[in-house]
Amino acid sequence: MAKIMELETAIRENVNDGDFLVMEGFTHLIPHAAAHEVIRQGYKDLTLSRMTPDMIYDQFIGMGRVKKLIFSYAGNPGVGLLLRFRDAVENQWPRALEIEEHSHAAMANAYEAGAAGLPCAVFRGYRGAGLTGVNPNIKSIECPFTGEKLAAVPALNADVAIIHAQRANKNGDVLLEGIIGVQKEAVLGAKRAVVTVEEIVDDFGDISPNAVVLPSWTINAVVVVAGGAHPSYAHGYYSRDNGFYKDWDRISRNRDVFLGWMDENVMKSGPQAFEVHVRKGPAK
């Protein structure tokens, strides 16, 4: 059963140095507040996977906390390149970064295989793609029935999945709505899961019986962090702060500006700083 607790405790009880962490959210519901807590607590030598490692992974990388990154699109969505990631790959700053690069289809299939308890994902992909020549974890397998050659990649099973969702009920069951990405697969494929939510309600009320609900017993910790996805968004609570994504391009361009921003807004801050964003925008 999920325990409802404070963010500081939830991260301390579930994350260790050297862990394989997955923080997912496909442009929506990205767990920024929880990621900041992981950075604040100083965990290092992490392996991180994420289909679209945007701003939060740029922050982990720039702070030197990442040993290996597994990903399929490392950009700042709608803005441009991911500059701390670039600095790490091009100049090994602040440390060398090992990368395992895939396509979106491969990552999505690998998370699903992880949730399904399979050792690998099999799909029709990577035909004629250059990644097959640089990523030894892309292999192929022959269909035993038709002989068709298919792509295979290892399943993704993290030590800890960290996601953000709209609501939990008092029992610790979690509801996700809108663009749901790969969060369900990431949680069910991980050993432990921490979920931050906008609010805890008595019950979910009038929702579709097919709504995405992760039962309490699939999650270790549930934490209320209002605004915890900012500058990403929470459907029904606040909209995407596009201006901040543009600002990130400026902040992350220079190493010292970046480190100064991290010190002020992450290292010396806390989850309560996210609350202000809830009131900022209309529900969308």
Partner: protein, 256 residues
């Protein structure tokens, strides 16, 4: 309408390639602009799909990211990302994939991964995202990209996703059964693959554009079809729809 720009001609011409019956996998940026213009003009019933899992979406303004809230709110259905790539893309439900690129070669192969060596790049770009499988699973591929020597290169630095590979038969040898790139719209011209060589050649020049201009902006020895025509200029209706869409988009994102 006055002062029509080449960028507007590019978007309108790219939009015209889409049919009302198409199911289109939409890339962000120029493709998204062209696809939504098609929906707002001659193809109101077109199904637009963004890889965030939004199927049949009808945004009022252009999204900044592939997962903006409006895409979800105006969609017929929203599915998970694994379902999007497995059932809808790999399942063969998409008729057209609409892509852009950082680098493109004469066979419509695309690089969005690195400039320089993969392991020691001069510029690390975002990477392929959905492109490697979009390029092989969609019925056909349209590409839209601004013409420049930097983008239209003789040899790609990295092979992110396949177009026609090294020429005729390459896709087939890899077991790919879809058509690949069938149309390329730039801000100077329209190019189609030559049926024999699979190499993109110019078939129409946008109004006011010369052959020399296109040759100058292309990094490979450019081929021209036998009969070059002038691209039909945007109509007043197309241009008004595009300008309204861009104005609404600018107003909305400035207010956010």
């Amino acid at each position: 309408m006055t002062n029509i720009t080449l960028a507007e001609i590019m978007t309108v011409t790219a939009a015209r390639a889409l049919k009302n019956t198409d199911v289109c996998f939409v890339g962000i940026g120029l493709p998204s602009e062209a696809c939504n213009l098609a929906r707002l003009t001659h193809a109101p019933e077109i199904t637009l799909i963004y890889e965030s899992g939004t199927i049949g979406t009808k945004p009022n303004v252009l999204p900044l990211s592939i997962g903006d809230g409006e895409l979800c709110e105006t969609a017929v259905a929203n599915v998970s990302v694994p379902e999007m790539f497995r059932y809808w893309l790999q399942g063969g439900r998409i008729t057209v994939g609409f892509l852009s690129a950082a680098q493109l070669d004469r066979f419509g192969n695309i690089n969005t991964t690195v400039i320089g060596d993969y392991h020691n790049p001069t510029t690390r770009l975002p990477g392929g995202g959905g492109a490697p499988e979009i390029a092989t699973s969609c019925g056909e591929i349209f590409i839209t990209l601004k013409h420049s020597k930097r983008a239209f290169v003789d040899k790609l630095d990295f092979f992110t996703s396949i177009g026609h590979g090294d020429g005729p038969g390459h896709r087939g040898r890899l077991g790919i059964t879809t058509k690949g790139p069938t149309r390329l719209v730039t801000d100077l011209c329209v190019m189609l693959p030559n049926p024999d060589s699979c190499e993109f050649e110019v078939v129409s020049l946008h109004p006011g554009v010369t052959r020399e201009q296109v040759i100058e902006a292309t990094g490979w020895p450019l081929a021209f079809a036998r009969n070059i025509i002038e691209t039909a200029a945007p109509t007043a209706i197309e241009l008004a729809a595009l300008r309204d869409l861009k104005q609404r988009t600018a107003d909305t994102h400035a207010a956010a």
